[in-house]
């Protein structure tokens, strides 16, 4: 008998000496099927264990890009739009000011304006886009909350309105602020309401629609129009940005300056330096 496979000499000897008798007893076909079945199972196991090519998806719209190997993971955190958790229906409904200003609270001075029993929405985790084009951010749907929430028309800082939109009240350092559903903050001035920058330390129950999630070191920040939030005790606190954080958009009202030939945008005590990263324009924030 000539063995198909080279096994150990002991195994070959075993095959040679026992194969004829075994075939006589069980029939050669049965033996052949058994061996083939085991070999087949071995190949099936091999196929199952062979890892598929794990390539990160990127570069939509290009056959060539789909064939490129995945790049090394970037050291910086991704900047991407997070789905906007909407404010729970606990905002104070009346539109005019005097009725909304909450009576002076006893300390603590900062309060989240959360009604008892109203569940808070934690910031959802969103994976980075599986593939990203250089112009993926050119669609309005990528901004301001996307299709499900429409594209809110945000008030511009400094804008003066006579009637407040739907809002909640915030008292901070004995000053009244009004926080609308689109994430704008107002203060009362001369009978009107003016859009202002919220004070650092203010706390809101829910993030406005359209915030971008930016991870910096161990901390996740939520960014919208020059305002940075972090999650804090089931609420979200307005904070100063850490130096070097990269954000996808400029705050409205930022002023362009040129220093030593470099373009910056200045806003609220911080420089926003533009650059093109991964094909899209982003801004690195540093203190002025």
């Amino acid at each position: 008998m000539k063995s198909i496979f080279k096994v150990s000499s002991k195994g070959a000897q075993f095959l040679s000496s026992h194969l004829p008798a075994y075939r006589e007893r069980k029939g050669s076909a049965l033996f052949g099927y058994s061996r083939m079945a085991i070999v087949f199972l071995a190949f099936c196991t091999l196929m199952a264990l062979t890892p598929a090519a794990a390539l990160a998806d990127r570069g939509q719209g290009s056959i060539r890009a789909a064939a490129r190997p995945a790049p090394a993971p970037p050291p910086r955190a991704p900047v991407h739009a997070a789905p906007p958790p909407r404010a729970p229906a606990h905002a104070e409904p009346p539109p005019r000011a005097p009725a909304h200003v909450e009576p002076p609270h006893a300390p603590p001075d900062v309060h989240p304006d959360v009604h008892p029993g109203v569940p808070l929405q934690p910031p959802p985790h969103v994976d980075v886009q599986a593939h990203r084009d250089w112009d993926d951010n050119d669609e309005d749907t990528q901004h301001a909350g996307g299709f499900a929430h429409g594209a809110p028309v945000r008030a511009i800082r400094g804008q003066r309105v006579h009637d407040l939109p739907h809002h909640i009240s915030i008292i901070f350092n004995n000053q009244n602020y009004f926080y609308d559903d689109d994430g704008s903050y107002y203060q009362q001035q001369d009978g009107d309401y003016v859009v202002v920058q919220p004070p650092v330390g203010a706390i809101v129950a829910a993030l406005p629609p359209g915030v971008a999630t930016v991870v910096a070191g161990p901390t996740t920040y939520y960014y919208l129009d020059g305002v940075f939030y972090i999650a804090q005790d089931n609420s979200f606190a307005v904070v100063n940005p850490p130096a070097g954080i990269v954000v996808p958009d400029l705050p409205s009202g930022a002023n362009q300056v040129v220093v030593n030939g470099n373009v910056y945008y200045q806003f609220n005590g911080f420089n926003y330096q533009p650059s093109i990263q991964d094909g899209v324009t982003v801004y690195t924030v540093t203190p002025m």
Binding site: F31, G146, F147, G244, V263, I276
Partner: protein, 256 residues
Amino acid sequence: MMRATFYSALLVFLVASARAGADPAPATQPTVDPIADQILRQSCDFLAQSPAFAVHAEIWKDAVLPSGHKIQVTRSVDLDLRRPDRLHVDARAHKKGRSIWYDGKTLTVLDREKNLYSVVDAPATIDQTLDLAAQTYGITVPLEDLAVSDPYTSSMKNVSTGGYFGDEPVLGVSCRHVGFSTDRIDWQLWVADGPQPLPQKLVITYKNEDQTPQYTAIFSKWNLTDRAADLAFQFIPPPGSARIPLVPQNAGGEQP
């Protein structure tokens, strides 16, 4: 007897495992219909042999929102090239747009909405510059599949199967419909049936991604004359624009 057979199977398994580990290439040969291969090759060869061309593309891209809703967004792209070292791409979406210029020496990226641009040194050919843009700066240049010097080899990389699905018109142009598959995408091409076998439509399906989004491009306004002057490939900063850095991938400012 069974023990010996077991050893045999084990040996086969180990040898095959070692081979699989050493060679990550697909174990099977691509199964491509010869007619589909011929149609694609004719179209790609025609493109590769065109010293210059311009084309307009209307593009529809599926976008899967965080809510899970799949929508379609549109843009238009104009590509102008002269082999081997001139390229200009304009991509325009609603109120926004980006452009790329490659003049054989530099690569410029302009964010039209923000009126900001970046310029970096570029290598000597379109192919090398496309690779530089993708691998160093994370920029996939729109319609790059048409711009490379060897579109056939570039597009057939990793293809496992391919077929010819008959003749269909695209915007009134009689086309031959072919489709190919890799482990990540299925892509289909409609090639004009005539003396100029130019692509008329491209569909890419990202079959491994959530909700299998598709990219669709309809090509039109093909112009094979070398009409563009050198000036068309040179970037002239728009009024009021400012130059900003183009940051390489993985070097973009370590987040604090």
